[in-house]
């Protein structure tokens, strides 16, 4: 079963696609959360329950959007690829590993695309939840969540660096720089 799955994964070259979606939508999710948190930070005195509800809403929306958009685009791509391959082979490949991969892999890729921002958002929201559950556990919940978001952006950058075989620390700082610029923009807009 696992070997068959690995074969389908290799045939459809889904590992590259899933990895790309994971990074792209993961980055998207972290920056969205960062934007929300910075917005709440500059607006001052916002109730924690409102922050959590807004962040959770955004996380769910990102997840659903990620799953549906990736599934629609990937299933169309895979269908087209299969059709072209069938034309080249002059055989019906629906029952072959290629046919199975074309039907099954879009689900998996969509799941990765949708779950990446959702999981990152949940991680970013953890300090907020902890504070709501046990007040005082996290002294500065909003600031801690922002710090978690920065850490995740840095780690995503490191991951990209490892993939591209470039210097991981530089790649991490580059991603962090983007997040800092985003935060600074929101902060400046907020205080004007």
């Amino acid at each position: 079963m696992l070997k068959r799955f690995q074969l389908l994964f290799n045939i459809s070259q889904s590992s590259h696609i899933a990895r790309r979606y994971f990074v792209v939508n993961g980055f998207d999710g972290v920056l969205t959360m960062l934007g929300l948190l910075m917005g709440f930070y500059v607006s001052n005195e916002v109730e924690l329950s409102i922050v959590i509800a807004a962040c959770l809403g955004a996380a769910i929306a990102l997840s659903v959007s990620g799953i549906s958009s990736a599934y629609i685009s990937e299933s169309a791509e895979k269908k087209q690829e299969l059709k072209e391959l069938e034309e080249a082979m002059i055989v019906d490949l629906q029952d072959s590993a290629h046919g199975q991969a074309a039907r099954f892999m879009p689900f998996l890729i969509a799941l990765v695309n949708g779950m990446a921002p959702f999981i990152f958002a949940l991680l970013i929201m953890t300090p907020l939840w902890l504070t709501q559950w046990q007040p005082g556990w996290v002294p500065y919940p909003l600031e801690t969540s922002v710090a978690v978001a920065f850490t995740l952006v840095f780690l995503l950058g490191v991951f990209i660096g490892k993939i591209s075989d470039s210097f991981w620390l530089w790649a991490g700082f580059r991603a962090l720089f983007i997040a800092l610029i985003t935060s600074l923009l929101i902060y400046l807009i907020g205080i004007i």
Binding site: L7, I11, S96, H98
Partner: protein, 94 residues
């Protein structure tokens, strides 16, 4: 008892899975068989490979099914080696 001991197949397959993966999958689906794969021609989306199967008794249907399940299409059977063992009754008569 007739036994197929060697078959040479001309197969058209997509580039993916590659030769190594393709022959490994074939070997896994037909235990006891030895597979030799040679790429004969490469096109834009497909490649023609020559697959040599050797065994004491080749389960041809199983091999053909395994090839089809990986998107391959058998174009021709180029070479066959079949042996027929003498019946034990015939040996006794002699």
């Amino acid at each position: 008892m007739v036994k197929v001991q060697r078959i040479v197949l001309d197969v058209l397959k997509p580039h993916s899975p590659n030769g190594l993966e393709f022959s490994t999958q074939l070997a896994e689906s037909c235990p006891g068989c030895c597979f030799k794969l040679k790429v004969a021609e490469v096109d834009e989306k497909t490649e023609t490979v020559i697959i040599i199967v050797e065994s004491d008794d080749i389960p041809y249907d199983q091999v053909a099914e395994a090839i089809a399940s990986m998107g391959g299409s058998i174009h021709s059977i180029d070479e066959v080696e079949v042996t027929s063992a003498k019946d034990s009754s015939q040996l006794t008569d002699a």
